[in-house]
């Protein structure tokens, strides 16, 4: 019985410790905070966003984002504040600009080239086939 009590107490303590430690003056901030952490990338670990990362730099950035949210900045301004310091690297959804236009446009360009190629090949084949037919006559 005593052990069960101890177990329950330790369980309770662990649950209490697992509580969300970040508190905001307004609940709406928490939602935005979580969204921002999902979209922003840890500068030190390329394949993790801030939400996933436990790197010291990520924790610093989380604190900074919390501070900026409380200051009343909107998401766009917070992202700008971070990209001014850490460059576009930290955006998982990169903006369309002179560095990223190729990234965004390349798939469409390749697709267009593909269409053009298929189209040209098919008309060529048609012509050569019809020539063959003409020769057969």
């Amino acid at each position: 019985m005593r052990y069960l009590l101890l177990f329950l107490i330790s369980l309770l303590i662990s649950v209490l410790n697992a509580e969300q430690l970040i508190t905001f003056s307004d609940d709406a901030y928490l939602k935005r905070y979580q969204n921002l952490l999902e979209e922003l990338r840890c500068p030190k670990c390329q394949n993790q966003n801030l939400a996933d990362s436990n790197a010291p730099i990520s924790n610093d950035l989380k604190e900074e984002i919390q501070r900026l949210l409380e200051q009343g900045l909107d998401d766009k301004d917070i992202k700008r504040a971070l990209t001014e310091r850490y460059s576009d690297f930290i955006l998982y959804d990169p903006k369309f600009n002179k560095n990223t236009y190729f990234l965004w446009l390349a798939p469409f360009i390749v697709l267009l080239i593909g269409f053009w190629w298929v189209y040209s090949m098919s008309t060529k084949n048609y012509i050569s086939q019809s020539k063959d037919r003409d020769l057969e006559k």
């Binding site: 500068p43 030190k44 390329q46 730099i57 610093d60 900074e64 990209t83 001014e84 310091r85 850490y86 460059s87 576009d88 690297f89 560095n99 080239i113 190629w117 040209s120 090949m121 060529k124």
Partner: protein, 177 residues
């Protein structure tokens, strides 16, 4: 025309190959520096072992290296002898002691030698954040007007000094003479 069409997939394949091959040489850990060509951020911090408050204005007048360091940073330990060597050669280095404890930082400089003209003490990482510091050690080349000319994340060694900093630094130094 037909030849071009038939060889198009091969050409496309080779282009892709070249593009991807180039990608292999890129360092995915490399962050493009957002602050190159911009002024060093404004700050109001004191220096290590001194009470007077310093602002960015007091850094101007001559080109210098701004070196971000901390006693908890293992790579800084490796880098330190190179900084001492550079200061002996007359290179102006200003330290930014980043998220550190003052007593530990003081001991470190007493122990290993102090290559810095002075070290800005930034225990909260405020200036570090404004500079976009993400991994100490980092070294910035700043000109006499406070414009950041170059940035290197990681250990500054002889090779990197020669390849990336030396010519730029002396060019800036000659420019103000």
């Amino acid at each position: 025309m037909k030849k071009i069409l038939l060889s198009a997939p091969i050409i496309f394949f080779l282009l892709t190959l070249g593009f991807l091959y180039r990608g292999l040489e890129n360092d995915p850990k490399h962050l493009p520096s957002a602050l190159i060509g911009k002024n060093i951020p404004t700050f109001e911090l004191r220096t290590l072992d001194a009470e007077n408050v310093l602002t960015q204005e007091q850094l101007l007048g001559q080109p210098f290296l701004l070196n971000v360091w901390a006693t908890w940073c293992y790579a800084c330990r490796i880098e330190h002898p190179m900084l001492v060597e550079l200061s002996k050669r007359g290179v102006k280095i200003i330290g930014l002691n980043y998220k550190d404890q003052e007593s530990l930082a003081g001991d470190w400089l007493d122990d290993k030698g102090d290559p810095y003209i002075f070290s800005i003490f930034d225990p909260d990482g405020k200036l570090g954040f404004d500079l976009g510091v993400y991994g100490a050690p980092e070294t910035y080349l700043v000109d006499a007007y406070g414009i950041i000319m170059h940035k290197r994340v990681g250990v500054l060694d002889e090779r990197i000094w020669q390849n990336e900093f030396k010519d730029k630094y002396y060019a800036l130094e000659n420019a103000i003479k």
